[in-house]
């Protein structure tokens, strides 16, 4: 093997990194947020049944103060074993507290958050109940 061939992949990596890094460096945070929002809408339109997008729709409903719809969508995401996003379980527990649900119902979701993210630095949403 020719000696330079060892470095081929590093040349490709450096080339790709130079392009991508410079693009990110000059991109304004506002443009980045706008791009992510637009991308989320397109991905959600393509895959409406993915748990992540059901959760996103729940967040949107909560932002529009439709809390019962948000709760329904969060429950749907939970039924699909969507345990890999800490913010989901934490937000859902907080929503249940806001809605004044029973302690058992709040504990069910908050305990799931604790179980799946035991090293979380977020405060327990139940504190202060």
């Amino acid at each position: 093997m020719h000696r330079w061939k060892y470095y081929r992949i590093l040349v490709v990596v450096y080339g790709a990194a130079a392009l991508s890094f410079s693009r990110e460096f000059i991109q304004s945070p506002e443009d980045l947020v706008r791009a992510q929002v637009e991308a989320s809408q397109v991905v959600a339109a393509r895959y409406p049944k993915l748990p992540q997008h059901i959760y996103n729709r729940g967040l949107e409903a909560a932002r529009n103060q439709d809390y019962q719809e948000a709760r329904r969508l969060f429950e749907e995401a939970l039924a699909a074993h969507f345990y890999t996003d800490e913010s989901f379980l934490h937000t859902y527990a907080s929503l249940l507290i806001y809605l004044g649900e029973s302690r058992e119902e709040i504990d069910r979701v908050a305990d799931l958050w604790r179980k799946h993210f035991p090293h979380s630095r977020n405060p327990d949403p139940r504190f202060g109940l």
């Binding site: 990596v13 450096y14 990194a17 991308a39 989320s40 397109v42 393509r46 035991p118 090293h119 202060g128």
Partner: protein, 359 residues
């Protein structure tokens, strides 16, 4: 027409290269059902980090190889450290994209590499087979990325970030084209296989069982489960274990006569020491990166969880992570002397014949 060859031997290949992907999917599904999300980290610590260690051992642990690849093995870490540092400082999202892309390319090339070893061992395939196998791996894997709901989210977001918006209809069209290309290529692959046989080249069926098992894992976890947790755990098991197995086997065959720590570690009767060293590397890595050792426990052992529930009536917010560590430290500080007292209560009894033998 058919000539079977194995990477290790018939039994071990069936265990590590053909059955393992199916077992990995089962373990991934079981983890989703019964374990906490922390299991992703646990599997990473128990398999991914050790497979990195195996890589260091393979690259830096054999004197003659170290001498042979001295320049890339010296310059490589410097170049990687530089690009990582720049990425972390100025372009973290792009660094993530770089890691993501290289990780997938690396996964393709590992399975392609094993396929090549199968043909090498069986002396099978035509000269063009390597090229067709490479294309097969790239096309199947690229299709997985483009079409599966689990992975397409990432590249669609990246397209938007690069100012290349794509509509939902265009995504669907692109995915249809990708699937069609896969179908056409598979037909071309089968035709090439028939051509290979007709021209008197042998075919190694074990290679195809291996490729089939690997892609079963990737496609099943991306489509069937659509769970990042199941996909990550299953992939970590297949990729990590197969890599460790090939490194162990390769070093054992290569360095059987050498007198070095590496060749000692890979001796068949030192397998426990080899695995323990891999584990020790993970523990060291976890400690250096200041991450909790409880992450090794699949979420089953964790003071922060077990004592975390707040007691509002007492104004107690539950254990924080640092308080949990303090509790763990207290357990060690107090527990170690207690264990010392216990063992000393019987290991020095002079009336015991076992003790007398050492006096």
């Amino acid at each position: 027409m058919f000539r079977t060859g194995y990477i290790l031997n018939r039994r071990d290949d069936w265990v590590w290269f053909i059955a393992l992907p199916f077992a990995a999917v089962a373990i991934g599904l079981a983890s989703q059902r019964w374990l906490s999300a922390i299991a992703v980290v646990s599997f990473s610590l128990l398999l991914t980090a050790p497979h990195h260690f195996a890589s260091w051992l393979r690259a830096y642990g054999v004197r003659e190889d170290l001498k042979h690849w001295r320049a890339p093995l010296t310059l490589g870490p410097v170049a990687i450290a530089l690009v990582t540092l720049v990425g972390i400082t100025w372009a973290p999202m792009s660094l993530l994209l770089l890691v993501w892309t290289w990780d997938h390319q690396h996964s393709i090339m590992q399975q392609y590499g094993f396929a090549r070893i199968y043909d090498y061992k069986a002396q099978s395939g035509a000269p063009s087979t390597a090229w067709f196998d490479l294309l097969l791996n790239w096309i199947l894997y690229a299709n997985l990325m483009i079409v599966s709901p689990l992975y397409s989210d990432f590249w669609i977001r990246e397209l938007y970030r690069f100012g290349l918006p794509i509509s939902a209809v265009s995504i669907f069209t692109l995915q249809t084209v990708s699937s069609t290309l896969v179908g056409l290529f598979l037909v071309a692959y089968v035709i090439h296989l028939a051509w290979t046989i007709r021209h008197g080249y042998a075919v190694n069926p074990t290679k195809y069982l291996f490729i089939g098992a690997s892609y079963f894992l990737w496609y099943a976890t991306a489509w069937w489960t659509q769970s990042a947790l199941v996909a990550t755990i299953s992939h970590a098991i297949m990729h990590g274990v197969q890599y460790i197995v090939i490194v162990h086997s390769s070093l054992r065959r290569k360095g059987g006569t050498q007198k070095s720590v590496t060749s000692w570690l890979v001796q068949p009767h030192h397998i426990i020491a080899f695995l323990a060293t891999c584990l020790f590397y993970s523990v060291l890595f976890q400690l250096i990166t200041n991450q909790p050792l409880a992450a090794f426990g699949f979420g089953a052992i964790d003071f922060a969880t077990q004592y975390a529930s707040p007691i509002p009536e007492l104004g107690k917010p539950g254990y924080t992570l640092s308080q949990a560590h303090e509790l763990f430290a207290a357990l060690l500080i107090t527990g170690a002397p207690l264990l010392h007292y216990f063992v000393d209560s019987f290991i020095w009894k002079v009336r015991d014949e076992n003790v007398q033998a050492g006096l």
